[in-house]
Amino acid sequence: MPSRSHRSSPGRRGWRDVFLAGVGASILALSFVACGPGVEPSGPDDVAAEGAGAEVGGGGFPADRGCVERFTPGEDLFPDKAEIRWAKGFSVSYHGHYKVLEIHGPTPTRLALVRCGAPAPEVEMAIIEVPIPSLATASTTELAHLEALDVVDRWVAHADLRFVSSSSLREVIATGAVAEIGGADAGHLDVERLVQAAPTVLFVDTPERAQSDSLRLLGGVGTTVVPFPTYLEEFPLGRTEWLLATSLFFNSEARAKDVFAEIEASYLGLKRRVGEEAQRRPTVLTSGPWQGVWYVPAGESFMARLLADGGADYLWSSAEGVGTLQLDIEAVFARARGADYWLFPSHWRSLGEIESIDTRLTRFAAFKSGSVFAPDRRLNDTGGNDYWELGVFRPDLVLGDVVSVLHPEILPDHKPTFLRRLERDPPP
């Protein structure tokens, strides 16, 4: 299955707080800061809070947006500049008083983000004044950005509120500050509610949504639809790096760079340790079959890279492409029957469930030895799985889980965040 499709699962909540205790100190601090409106934003990097005394209260927009009062042509209004190293889905260039965000992929888009107070540049693209007062999201994959950048109070609408995992975001939702624009399990966004919420920008995940006719109407009410196809990124850190794309809208590049650098260091450090210390590379199989076809991540995909970085011998690592291979179940069996581990197996939550789907799946060595691990430790009670929210943003945590499974000797005291060994019966 394509990786963008896994975003939710049923289950329970409450793990976030447990988890928070175990995360690195700086991330922890950021999370606290982001715990919702009413908490004073900190840090000199936050342009929104820069200048006259930084106010954020009760979810309202700060009186001072960080607008320039006197515009001098040629002045560089964005001293902190984002540089993109991993992500291939967007790029940014700076032009004094405005910056151009270019989104690549299926729905190429160019946006001029002009520092508020400065004149609009003469460019043939949509122009948005930044920092923006409000935004709406359509996928859980960007939600971690709101907390990391401390802009939760600008969040006015989201597609499926049920699938939001973060406890601090759920608290915000509970106050009624966030409109649900997807309705129950909707593939389509509710344009009328969007118009009512009137976000300055709407981040959408899939090209189907970005190109939907109804969303074009939003232009008329001052909402710009911004494609955010993070799921297309090939590198785990590439997905995280979209934090910088989000930060452009809030002029908080400096803060985003700090957060990203921390996650990057954590991920690369672990990857390096695996490279140095791993004795062997166990073979790994992923995903699962549907109607006789096994949808396997290709060799240059996000999943293949994550597994390779975690010290796995991913069995399809030589298959070209960044997407998904549609393989005959027989071919998967022939290659992977002896695989040591079966990680991220479709959506299943117990060995019994796997057996009931297709008895042939019990023939895999990883099934027989009980070496099947699924990322379902952090489910909320309304169908959300934090793996598709926090996990997308924190590949270092996912990598840690993978390493602890494949190479327990490297991380002997690791407490897994997402991955859980499947038992005969589903968890209670």
Partner: protein
């Protein structure tokens, strides 16, 4: 027997394709291992053994049975409705099954309890059950009214049921997340590879029984082919025959759809292939010919969809139609279609 060589060719073709479907697949298994398996000798390599006995054999048997079943049920419908465009799904069986599956994947999957899963994909067993239930509901409705209305009315009702259920499916799709829509769409692609032995022991008897019913009905079907009024004049009990035909079709088409997805084309096209080959409308010959052609077409489609030599697969429904269309168009053009329905 007339056309003896044609039967031989058909049998040889079906047999050959069956063996080819066993021998060629995505995983390289040497021919001698397949031969050992066929002759009941132990296959030394455990992986080859499993591939042969648990992947290829059930798949080839499913393809053969499903091909015969769809083709025969298509023929039954074409005769019953005296309409060359009729097929196994005119009674709304496929619509009913699709509705059942759509509810299982899209609606139940989203409720957040029970069968649900993160992906919104329910288990294969649940899908089979839902498809069978949907097909049974469609058939029940048809049987309920079939005694009271003409076949033409039945045809229209089946069509209406199809529209109504596809409308409900559309609503479910509209409200569903992309990944669930994807699962549903993939189900509609059709596949023989998802059927395991434990499913085949349920499917095979149902299909064989349905085929048996069809063959029992072969002789009276000739009378029915002339039209219900003429059949009555010839002393054929039209009411019971109609019920028999409907039940057989439901078992055949409903069974295949439940386990393999809605496989199109074979049911409508293969009866024409058989008619063209044998230039007959006599059901005692047409039925076995249709069944054999169905076996061959389904096996050939499965072979191609597995893309031997590569690990990838093509959607079965696309293969049946792309491969079959030119062949059958050519045959039908050579032998005027309408002659068969005069």
């Amino acid at each position: 027997m007339r056309d003896g060589w044609k039967w031989l060719v058909l049998l040889a073709l079906a047999g050959g394709l069956f063996l080819a479907d066993l021998a060629f697949g995505s995983a390289p298994v040497p021919l001698h291992a397949i031969l050992d398996g066929l002759l009941g000798r132990p296959i030394e390599d455990p992986a080859w053994r499993t591939i042969f006995s648990e992947f290829r054999l059930p798949k080839a048997l499913t393809a053969a049975l499903a091909g015969a079943s769809l083709a025969v049920s298509g023929l039954l419908m074409q005769t019953l409705f005296r309409n060359p465009l009729a097929g196994p799904y005119v009674l709304g069986i496929s619509s009913g099954a699709s509705l059942g599956v759509a509810i299982a994947i899209l609606a139940v999957g989203s409720s957040g309890v029970g069968l649900v899963s993160g992906l919104g994909v329910t288990g294969d067993a649940a899908v089979v059950g839902a498809a069978a239930a949907g097909a049974a509901v469609a058939l029940g409705l048809v049987l309920l009214v079939s005694r009271r209305v003409s076949v033409l009315t039945l045809l229209i009702l089946g069509m209406l049921f199809g529209y109504a259920s596809s409308a409900v499916v559309t609503i479910l799709l509209h409200w569903s997340r992309a990944e669930r829509i994807e699962s549903y769409v993939r189900w509609t692609f059709g596949s023989f590879a998802g059927v395991t032995w434990s499913e085949l022991v349920v499917l095979a008897p149902a299909l064989l029984f349905g085929l048996g019913l069809a063959f029992v009905a072969a002789k009276p079907l000739d009378a029915l082919h002339l039209g219900e009024v003429q059949a009555r004049a010839l002393g054929t009990g039209v009411g019971p025959l109609r019920t028999l035909v409907l039940v057989a079709t439901a078992l055949l088409a409903g069974g295949v759809t439940a386990f393999c997805g809605p496989i199109g084309f074979i049911g409508v096209a293969v009866p024409h292939l058989a008619r063209a080959l044998f230039a007959t409308s006599e059901h005692r010959r047409l039925l076995p010919a249709t069944a054999l052609c169905g076996v061959s077409v389904a096996l050939a489609a499965d072979l191609v969809s597995q893309l031997p030599g590569s690990q990838s697969v093509l959607p079965l429904n696309a293969v049946t139609a792309i491969l079959g269309t030119p062949v059958i168009a050519a045959l039908v053009l050579r032998r005027r279609l309408e002659n068969a329905f005069r």
